[in-house]
Symmetry: C2
Subunit: 308 residues, 2 copies
């Protein structure tokens, strides 16, 4: 199975309103809620692609129960979340009639040292039956900022390929622990390297320790620097839609391609097509299967294989 | 015990943010949550006054469990909520650094005819040990608009004094069933009677069936027309603060005074002081005990006893 780690899981709530006016009272016309946090989103896409997937991370409180109820209703996902005393955070997306979104993100639960230890033990056990692992998203309060670096070292010791998708200091420390793949977006990459020039920044991120770097450049597709070569994957056109979850779809595409031993250009094609099919889907964070099937034949990958 | 009915219970969530900007992403700096819906707020005040109180109404889903967990932590309140398949609604109050509030109210759960029947049976059983009952707030989808009228008739049959605090068509139909007390605010009273002149509107509401009408006029206090006489209760000054729950504090003051057989002027004094002490409390919906003790001696009640 593929393992995804979401230390800061969330209950993602969507509220539809006519228009959001500060200091007014609003009737919410529609409420949607589902398990959230990057690793859970990645798992949902992997499950839809037919890959057995196990999710771990922290979960707690009534919101945590709602997350676990949602996972139980999603075929193909095994729930191996670790309980904490604090409550899983909520995120609230208030969507108005124009489709614009106002986002409210609660802080995550305070994780105790004992809970962090319990997680690390559970993680190591899960890794023993994992073909690959993705470490995704922000860290809740109480988890040390070097957490991902430690989890990467554990995965490398057990020879499980590891992908890191986070930002800021956890990304900086994680990269130094030599993950197999990092997948920053343009902003995260610039923050890590100080360079806003994607090709230079991607090269620099490899020098900092990442074995392969796949930068997601929004509607411009992906830029990959890997030990096997460098490629650029471009969707057939720019798509308008909701970019929520597009980055998570890229991670799912890369991971599924990795465990299927696809060549890099095929992994990038899959990841780019999944990302565009997510932007096109009517529900945020889902992907449109028909659009995916069509786009897979239309992504352009250009680049060169390394001489080494 | 005093019974309060909240057919549309809520999980009240407060989110503190620096400033709410439509279409931006916000870090919530503080999250508070507690059981909500008017009848539960009334019960909290009654319990704080030392009155044994039982709450009923509908509760369901993960949000419903959070409501019940909150009630279990509130001393003096007995939980007799009736389970439904749908989920209890959330209300979200986004409070910015200036203290201004933006409110998002989810719709209530769809109540089935079988669930409504189960509630009516439970209500009748609870009434048999109740000294008074308050029917509070809006109706969730699926509950007939004449619901309160039916619940009032049941209470009258069992000789349990009944107070109604709702709005719109449920208020109009409820008043016609001759409740002992209705407590509209100025807006609800104007909607019921078509008159914006409080004294005329209060008289008119009695003609429509209510035996006593207590209109809450915000910072101007209360206006009461009862079979025993007419009074006006005025706080010593206008208070600045958060009016959330001030109306529920009035209901708690009136009900507690009723079961203690206090004369009307004393009930109105208590209700006015509780309401002002709620506006003054730092936490929305709580009342400030010291302010209440002080204000009780400062409320002015003027009026006349009926000749009858």
């Amino acid at each position: 199975m593929i393992l995804t780690v979401t230390l800061n899981t969330a209950l993602d709530i969507t509220h539809r309103v006519r228009a959001l006016r500060p200091h007014a009272t609003h009737r919410v016309t529609e409420v949607l809620q589902r398990p959230g946090g990057k690793g859970l989103n990645v798992a949902r896409v992997l499950a839809a692609l037919g890959h057995p997937v196990t999710v771990t991370g922290f979960v707690g409180g009534g919101t945590g129960r709602a997350v676990q109820d949602g996972l139980a209703r999603t075929p193909g996902i095994v729930d191996a979340l670790v309980p904490v005393q604090g409550a899983t955070r909520r995120t609230i997306a208030v969507v108005d009639a124009t489709g614009d979104t106002t986002q409210l993100n609660e802080p995550g639960p305070l994780v105790t040292p004992a809970e962090w230890s319990a997680f690390q033990e559970a993680y190591e056990v899960l890794l023993r039956s994992a073909s690959a692992v993705a470490l995704c998203g922000s860290l809740p309060p109480g988890v040390p900022v070097g957490a991902y670096a430690g989890l990467i070292r554990t995965a490398r010791t057990l020879a499980v390929p590891v992908l890191l998708d986070t930002s800021g200091e956890p990304l900086r420390r994680g990269v130094a622990a030599r993950p197999d793949v990092v997948k920053p977006n343009a902003e995260e990459l610039a923050e890590l390297t100080g360079s806003h020039e994607p090709s230079r920044a991607t090269r620099d991120a490899r020098r900092r320790g990442a074995q392969a770097v796949v930068a997601s450049l929004g509607p411009d597709g992906l830029l990959a620097h890997t030990p096997e070569g460098r490629w650029r994957a471009t969707p057939p056109r720019r798509f308008r839609g909701n970019p929520t979850g597009a980055g998570d779809a890229v991670v799912a595409g890369l991971l599924s391609g990795l465990v299927e031993h696809l060549p890099w250009p095929d992994r990038l094609t899959r990841a780019t097509a999944l990302s565009a099919a997510t932007v096109l889907a009517p529900t945020a964070g889902e992907f449109d299967q028909r659009a995916y099937d069509e786009l897979r034949t239309q992504v352009a990958v250009t680049g060169e294989v390394s001489a080494a």
